[in-house]
């Protein structure tokens, strides 16, 4: 036993000596390699360069670059082919898919939902808290003609259409979260299928309604002098003087232009989505869905704000019912327009009196249209 121990001791001492020697050699080599002369020599004898010159690399590396749509062989446009001729069949992996999923699941659904709920909640809060803006001095009983039949028709056409598109679109966007727990999978499948088909079929009609809206309302929606003042005083809330406003105030003009431009964006992206498998649109389909959804949520929020405004300000709804508004409403909310229109009406009145001679029927319609 003693002999064994002793021998093991000598072995350990030998090991210590050896490790010291190794350390010493390593330090010497390290110093040498840092000196420029030896470094240059080291490069010459580099084994890696030798193997690289032999060109030994896995033949399949380019395949996996292509699979992830990464650059290979110096040229950016990698070419992979397939005997299957359907669209996108040449691509191994559509790397945008996960991004689109993340956008939809982690961004659009939660934040879009919060946005819509908070806008509607805020408007409801305003509706409860803020008193209705009454017509000063009450209704006069006299009415002033404000909107033509075609203006009202184009407005209500758009309301019905966009309301329907919003409902079906929201069902497709939030239905899985909101409607499936209520209707069940099969019940919602029927609703969603009908939503999808009708959203596709009636979608192009939105373009028609936008055109109608443009034709019949654009004349009143050009920017005018008092618009900036109206906006900065938050619609006259902050200004001491009562603002004289023409046919539409700046808020109504903003509503108009937001509706038109969001409608244009929705129409373009919507048309792209109607034909998703045309080669030109394939790359843009995911982007188009994203833009379509965001624009739609904005438009829906704006529409809710519009409804709140109409409900809050008494007498506004009259214009869209039969085209006439109360005289006191017109004097208060659109005084400049009222002055203009009464002057014009008086002139018309004179004409009408003359006309009355020939036909008594035409007067009623002629003056107030």
């Amino acid at each position: 036993m003693d002999a064994l121990k002793r021998s093991s001791k000598t072995i350990t001492s030998l090991n210590v000596n050896l490790s010291l020697l190794v350390c010493f050699i390593v330090i010497i080599f390290a110093m040498l390699s840092f000196s420029p002369v030896f470094a240059a020599e080291g490069k010459l004898g580099n084994s890696n360069t030798a193997t690289h010159q032999l060109g030994v690399k896995s033949p399949a590396t380019d395949l996996w670059r292509a699979v992830r749509n990464r650059d290979f062989g110096g040229s950016k446009g990698m070419s992979s082919t397939s005997q299957i001729k359907s669209l996108g069949a040449n691509t191994f992996i559509n790397v945008k898919g996960q991004e689109w999923r993340k956008f939809r699941q982690n961004w659009l659904l939660p934040y879009g939902g919060y946005f819509l709920v908070s806008v509607v909640g805020f408007l409801f809060f305003l509706y409860v808290v803020i008193k209705k803006v009454k017509i000063p001095n009450g209704r006069s009983g006299k009415s002033v003609s404000r909107l033509s039949t075609m203006q009202r028709v184009s407005h209500w056409f758009m309301v019905i259409l966009i309301g329907f598109m919003a409902l079906t679109g929201l069902l497709l966007l939030f239905g899985r979260l909101v409607a499936i727990p209520v209707l069940g999978l099969d019940g919602f499948a029927f609703v969603a299928s009908a939503s999808k088909e009708s959203h596709n079929v009636f979608g192009p009609l939105v373009i028609v309604s936008l055109l109608l809206m443009l034709i019949y309302f654009i004349q009143h929606n050009w920017p005018a002098k008092g618009d900036i003042k109206w906006l900065f005083s938050l619609g006259g809330l902050l200004s001491k003087k009562h603002l004289k406003i023409g046919f539409f105030n700046a808020g109504e003009k903003l509503l108009f232009w937001f509706t038109i431009w969001l409608g244009v964006v929705l129409s373009i992206t919507g048309l792209l989505l109607l034909f998703p498998y045309y080669e030109q649109t394939e790359a843009y389909t995911q982007l188009a869905i994203a833009i379509h959804a965001i624009a739609a949520l904005l438009l829906i929020a704006i529409a809710f704000a519009h409804v709140w405004m109409v409900v809050t300000i008494e007498g506004t709804m009259d214009a869209m019912k039969d085209g006439n508004v109360d005289e006191n409403w017109a004097k208060y909310h659109h005084s400049r327009w009222y002055e203009e229109t009464t002057v014009a009406n008086k002139a018309l009145d004179v004409d009408a009196h003359v006309e009355e001679m020939s036909s008594s029927e035409s007067r009623k319609e002629g003056v107030y249209q």
Binding site: S79, S80, I84, A89, E197
Partner: protein, 207 residues
Amino acid sequence: MANVKFYCDSERCIECNGCVTACKNENDVPWGVNRRRVVTVKDGEPGERSLSVACMHCSDAPCAAVCPVDCFYTTDNGIVLHDKDICIGCGYCSYACPFGAPQFPESGAFSSKGKMDKCTFCAGGPEETGSAEEYQKYGANRLAEGKLPLCAEMCATKALLAGDANVVSDIYRQRVINRSMSTLASNVRIQKDFLGSSPDLTGKATK
């Protein structure tokens, strides 16, 4: 239960499209729809490689995540299937899927998208196993008969592997080891031939 997987061995695939044809025939897939496709890089050049691509039956399937009507479900075997009675053909799954697996037959007056169709790992669908409706909607249910997907069973070079993930990975691992050994052997040979007795520092390939 086993967790089943596909794996395509790029060193073996010869782009014969046998898997595509076998799948189409076995499942009676609609016209214009291919549940499986073979994609090739560097066609006709050195380093040409092919892979057979279909639904990869993801553990965390993007199609199932984005589906607005929640028509996807995962079986005990880890196979991602969908219910064509619930599917509305919106195409969201195809935008989210990395592998281009969801396919849409044209339907309706404006040739819009019909119900989505995709690889079922030859496991049929939610209908009664072996029924005519199941075959008509989803194709063959070979798994219920104790068979593997026909694409893999037909593969002439055994490039396309299908089955229990552990078995598939064992087979592939063995192949990789064999190839590495042969590559290593050839590397040593090449180094011997080229370097000869050069004062190389590796000390491995000197004579």
